[in-house]
Amino acid sequence: MTDTQTPGSVLTRSLNTKSFLGIAGFALLLGVTVWTRWLSIRGSVSGEAETAVLSALVTTLFVAVVGASLLVITLVRDTAGALGFLNEKAAQIEAGEFDVNLDAPRYDEVGRLFAAVRSMRDAIAMRIDELETAQREAEVAQREAERQAESLAASAERMSETFDAAAAGDLSVRADEDVDAEALATIAASFNDMIGDVETTVEGVRSFAAEVDEASTEIDDTARQLAAQGDDVVEVIDGIADNADDQYDTVRDASGELSNLSASIEEIASSSDEVATKSADAAEIGNAGNDAATEAVTEMEAIRERTEASIEKVEQLESEMDRIGEIVTLIDDIAEQTNILALNANIEAARAGGAGGDASEGFEVVANEVKSLAEETAEKTDEIESRIETLQSTASDTVSEMRETGERVERGVETIDDSAELLLEMVDTVEDANDGVQSISKATDEQATATEEAVAMMDEVAELSEASTAEATDAAELVEEQNSDLDAVSDRIDDLSRRTRRLREQLESFDGGGGAVAGLDATGSAASAADDD
């Protein structure tokens, strides 16, 4: 009959049952009371009184039972209704309907129960709100975490693609630093810094390789030019060395000529000495002749005949001696000129030592002049020699003639006196000649000394020429070594250029991107700055 599924129904049924049982018990008790009262009254009354009494008792019984029933039902219904209502609301609250109306305008136990349930409902609603809020927050946090995880995965994926692209050589790529994950952002920033540095470095290396290639080509050209110029220098130096060799030969020849000149002069000197000796002898002979004349005084008459012949011989000798004097004078002039030439030769030699090729020619002229003069001197000397030989033979003839004419001298005392005077004059003259010859000898010695000095200087010049030749040869060798070094450098530069081109080809595999290429100069300067580091 009633809903047995809810506790409220059970409560209601229980209350109804209790009410029914209570009313039934009350009615039974009242019925027994009325019945016993009726039995006790029944014997003492009768007729209409009996009927009235029974009716009154029954009426009282019914009214009492009805009143009791009404009272009980009213109370039970009131409580049960409120409890059933509260039960229904509790069920609604249990089902989640927290906005149910729990207001009850009563202040009895039921009203307090409603207030308590209301507070409990509010508390539960608040707790559920809190729980739902927390759950929503948890869901939001979870979604956020999932979103972040997805974002992280996507960011990591993009970053991986970026890394792959960078690994494949595309250095223009940049990782997205605007990611949620701080660690990834840090990685992206570090990667971008690194790839930026790598890009800058590669661009720098690329531009540097280009510069190296260009510089290598220039250096190669320069080296080849240097090598060619070196060859020219070698040729020039070889020419210098040849010239120095020629100069050396020329100087050596000149030195030989000078040596010959020196020897000739020495011979002249020795000849002059001999002349002097002969002059001295002649003087002695003159003196002896004077003595002989003196002796001949005694033999005047014997000598006198011969004296005339001797006079002629002596006159001839005198003329010869005059001739000798002229020659000697000429020799003296020649010697002076030779001396001057030697001096010039010295000067030219000194100039040749400082100036080189042209000086040697001047010196050669001087040397030739000296040579011709020396030859002329030699010829004159030979002539003197022959003259002296002639003089000697003449003198010998004269002696023999004198000896033949000794007797004639005796006879020619008068003539002897004159002869003696002439002899004395002759002695003076011979002595004068001797003095001249002595001066010649002395001058010739000085000339020889000067010539020897010139020879020594020529030797020094020759040594210098030899040294310059050696130095020129060394220089040529050095230039050749330099040329070979330049060839080696050129080879190395070629190798470097080849390797640089290969490096550039390798660098071409790195794609720096348009921006990076456009900023090549900037990156090149950055790269050079980095080279500095």
Partner: protein, 234 residues
């Protein structure tokens, strides 16, 4: 007859006060449901009936019409009570009409039995009236109660209270009739009238009071039930 007149007059006065109180409650409360007119209507009819019975028994007017006025009262009010119970339970019009018809038959048969000249008519009328009463009870306990299961617990509680009170009190009427002079004559006519007056007063005033208390004590709870009932019965 003086006691009976006083009882009838007291009941009439009580009915009148109850009517005024219920009308005042209906006016003070914001209840626009037209079925709120049923309790004061029932109370007014009953009060007028008892006033008439008092006049009749007191010799003022309506001489000898106590029995007729009572059954006329019952013939009008008891179907309205049944109707009210069924409306609270949001029963169908067909069910309500059947219950009201059975109730009217019950009263009519009871009048026939009371005023019967022969024992055959009397017990036949009593039997018909009893069967009709059982039919009403059956309808209230089965069809109408089945319809109220979809309503809220508050509505169900109010419905059950009204239903149980009505059935319980109405069960007393045939018993009292059997004890009355119309039946076996155990109790006298004045006692019979007194008991009936008490039962009527209890049934009607109690019924109205329960409705009133249900509204005033848990009135706002009742609002949704009212709306549901209105929507269902409109």
């Amino acid at each position: 007859m003086l006691v009976e007149t006083a009882v009838f007059a007291a009941v009439a006065a009580l009915m009148g006060v109850s009517t005024v109180a219920f009308v005042a409650f209906s006016l003070l409360g914001d209840h626009e449901n037209r079925y709120f007119l049923l309790p004061p209507a029932i109370m007014s009819i009953a009060g007028l009936s008892y006033a008439g019975m008092a006049a009749s028994s007191g010799g003022f007017a309506l001489e000898g019409l106590v029995l007729e006025l009572r059954y006329l009262d019952w013939l009008l009010t008891t179907p309205l009570i049944v109707m009210h119970i069924a409306v609270v339970a949001a029963a169908s019009r067909k069910t309500i009409a059947a219950a009201m018809g059975a109730d009217a038959l019950m009263i009519a048969a009871g009048y026939a039995a009371t005023t019967a000249a022969t024992p055959g008519v009397k017990w036949g009328g009593f039997a018909v009236s009893t069967v009709a009463f059982l039919a009403v009870v059956y309808l209230l306990l089965t069809t109408v109660t089945d319809g109220v299961r979809d309503e809220t617990a508050a509505v169900q509680g109010t419905f059950r209270t009204l239903r149980d009170l009505t059935i319980a009190l109405w069960l007393v009427y045939p018993v009292i009739w059997l004890l009355s002079p119309s039946g076996f004559g155990v109790i006298t006519a004045p006692d019979y009238h007194f008991i009936i007056a008490v039962l009527d007063t209890t049934a009607k005033v109690g019924f109205t009071s329960i409705v009133t208390f249900s509204i005033t004590r848990v009135g706002d709870l009742f609002a949704e039930a009212e709306t549901t009932a209105t929507a269902t019965t409109a």
